[in-house]
């Protein structure tokens, strides 16, 4: 974990990709007799290099959360290949090579904040003193160092998510998977959390795959934005975000920022109408910004 203020890796850097998806598709079997199988994902090809921050954005039900879970081996693919760090997704999960942050913080009420962050360290059998030290380090990283003995219900939603992030980073994974982690927060907290997340990302150099509903959030945070179409989800376009390295509150005022947001929005609309068999029905649901 180095202070990488100047040596942030840029996308497209050579080296083996962290995530490699080739022809990935996912079909859910029918849930009850009589219902049809659900085509969640089709023909997904995506490569993610180390140090990138990649957002997945798309309309509700487009499969972006499913795609994240496919990478994390929390649901199996029905077609195509998933490689994480050069191994199968399953091996990567068993090797605990990624950390995941869900939409809800999923903290355990019966553990203190510190103990919650220690959870992955306990599972991997680290000795007690090392566990506590590492957990404190992570909590300091997310700036919750004074709250180690608090209980989860005593913290606000934003703070709980920060604990969840600290927990996801406890094993120093190469990859961080985040499923709309700030979706339940209000706009102002969300913008603060965006800045926090970028600061942490810069400190740790982890590769991030980030699912979101929010176009501004996707553009603000990422090096690349993957725009997905409505179900069955396929990649409509991958947008390179060429905003300056240093992102802060002023970045949201840049003209280039607005251009990128519009670009992404247009791509989204294209993805929707293409999948609704030609009808140019613009559904604005689920999209903000």
């Amino acid at each position: 974990m180095t202070d990488a203020t100047t040596s942030t890796p840029s996308p497209g850097m050579t080296g083996s990709p962290v995530v490699s998806l080739v022809g990935v598709s996912k079909v859910f079997p029918p849930t009850s007799p009589g219902s049809r199988p659900v085509d969640a994902l089709t023909e997904i090809d995506l490569t993610i290099q180390p140090g990138e921050f990649v957002s997945l954005i798309g309309p509700s039900g487009c499969g972006k959360s499913t795609l994240l879970r496919v990478i994390g081996d929390l649901t199996p693919v029905t077609g195509g290949m998933v490689m994480v760090n050069g191994k199968s997704a399953s091996e990567a999960r068993r090797g605990r090579e990624y950390g995941m942050v869900f939409q809800a913080p999923v903290l355990f009420d019966w553990r203190s904040v510190l103990e919650n962050v220690e959870l992955p360290l306990q599972i991997t059998g680290r000795p007690a003193r090392e566990r506590a030290g590492r957990a404190r380090e992570m909590l300091d990283l997310v700036e919750l160092g004074e709250f180690t003995n608090h209980r989860p219900w005593q913290l606000s939603g934003g703070m709980q998510q920060r604990v969840a992030i600290a927990r996801a980073l406890a094993l120093d994974p190469d990859l961080l998977l985040m499923d709309e982690p700030f979706g339940a927060l209000d706009e102002m907290t969300r913008e603060r959390m965006n800045l926090e997340l970028l600061r942490i990302w810069e400190r740790t150099g982890t590769t991030v795959v980030f699912v979101t509903h929010s176009i501004p959030e996707a553009v603000f945070l990422s090096t690349r934005v993957v725009v997905m179409s409505a179900r069955p989800g396929r990649i409509t376009e991958i947008v390179d975000v060429d905003l300056p390295r240093r992102r802060d509150v002023d970045t949201r005022e840049l003209e280039r920022y607005f251009e990128l947001v519009t670009h992404v929005r247009t791509a989204l609309r294209r993805g929707e109408s293409a999948s609704t068999s030609g009808t140019a029905r613009v559904r604005a649901e689920g999209l903000s910004g």
């Binding site: 999960r93 990624y98 809800a104 355990f108 703070m159 603060r192 600061r199």
Partner: protein
Amino acid sequence: MTVSAPSGANAADVSAVGTILRGPTIGERIREWSPAVILFFGALASWELVVRVFRIKQFILPSPVAIGVAWWTYLPELASAARYTFIEVIGGLAIGVTAGLLAGALTARYVAVREAALPFAIAANSIPIIAFAPIFNIWFGLDTQFSKMMIAAVLVFFPVMINTVRGLLSAPAPALELMRSFAASERDIFLRVRMPSAVPYIFTALRISATLATIGAIIGEYFGAPKVSLGQYIVTYTSYLNFERSWGAIIFASAIGMGLYVVVVLVERIVAPWAADRSTAPT
């Protein structure tokens, strides 16, 4: 990318945290309980008044004061009877709770067991198990404490088992998914997620077990027990129409049940404070 905005992320949150940490003050607790206490003593007082004004005979309805006097007068024999019955209650709780926890853990773990055992347990819970009390007396002896312990144990076993299963299966899906993302073993998941999730349910079952075990012991004694037991004391003096003394024994029986209930509540507060807050809120 560097971030130049100051991360005062905690500033807005800290004030919110402060208010949640403070518990109820003494004044608030008194205000919360006083209407109930007033009502209770008011009811007692009216009862006393009615008995006196209408000169109701004790074998129809004894007055609270008369009951209190009888209780005090016969305290030694009541206390011995209470001690005798208390052992049955505790023993029954110990056996029933242990067996219920084990059965619950097995049932939750193996789907095949669950499909058969759970419907049976729920049905068995609706049987008047007390009807089996004479059988237990025959098997384990009319005059032993063990036979009544077994009745109490069986009464307690089913709710404990069912609620243990409920609790173990109540682990929320996101928590299980989280554990899978850490490639946790089944053992890890059981110890770190399922068991803690089950704790509130188990304590709830323990609370009702306190009452059930008391009921089991006393009714078991109604079917036959040594004279020095609360159940026989109640039955004997009821048949003499000496209700003051019966009620004296009933007060002890209630005290045992309520006392154990309070003990469970206190233990829960110490062992599992996160659960206690939610499950014992008045309304």
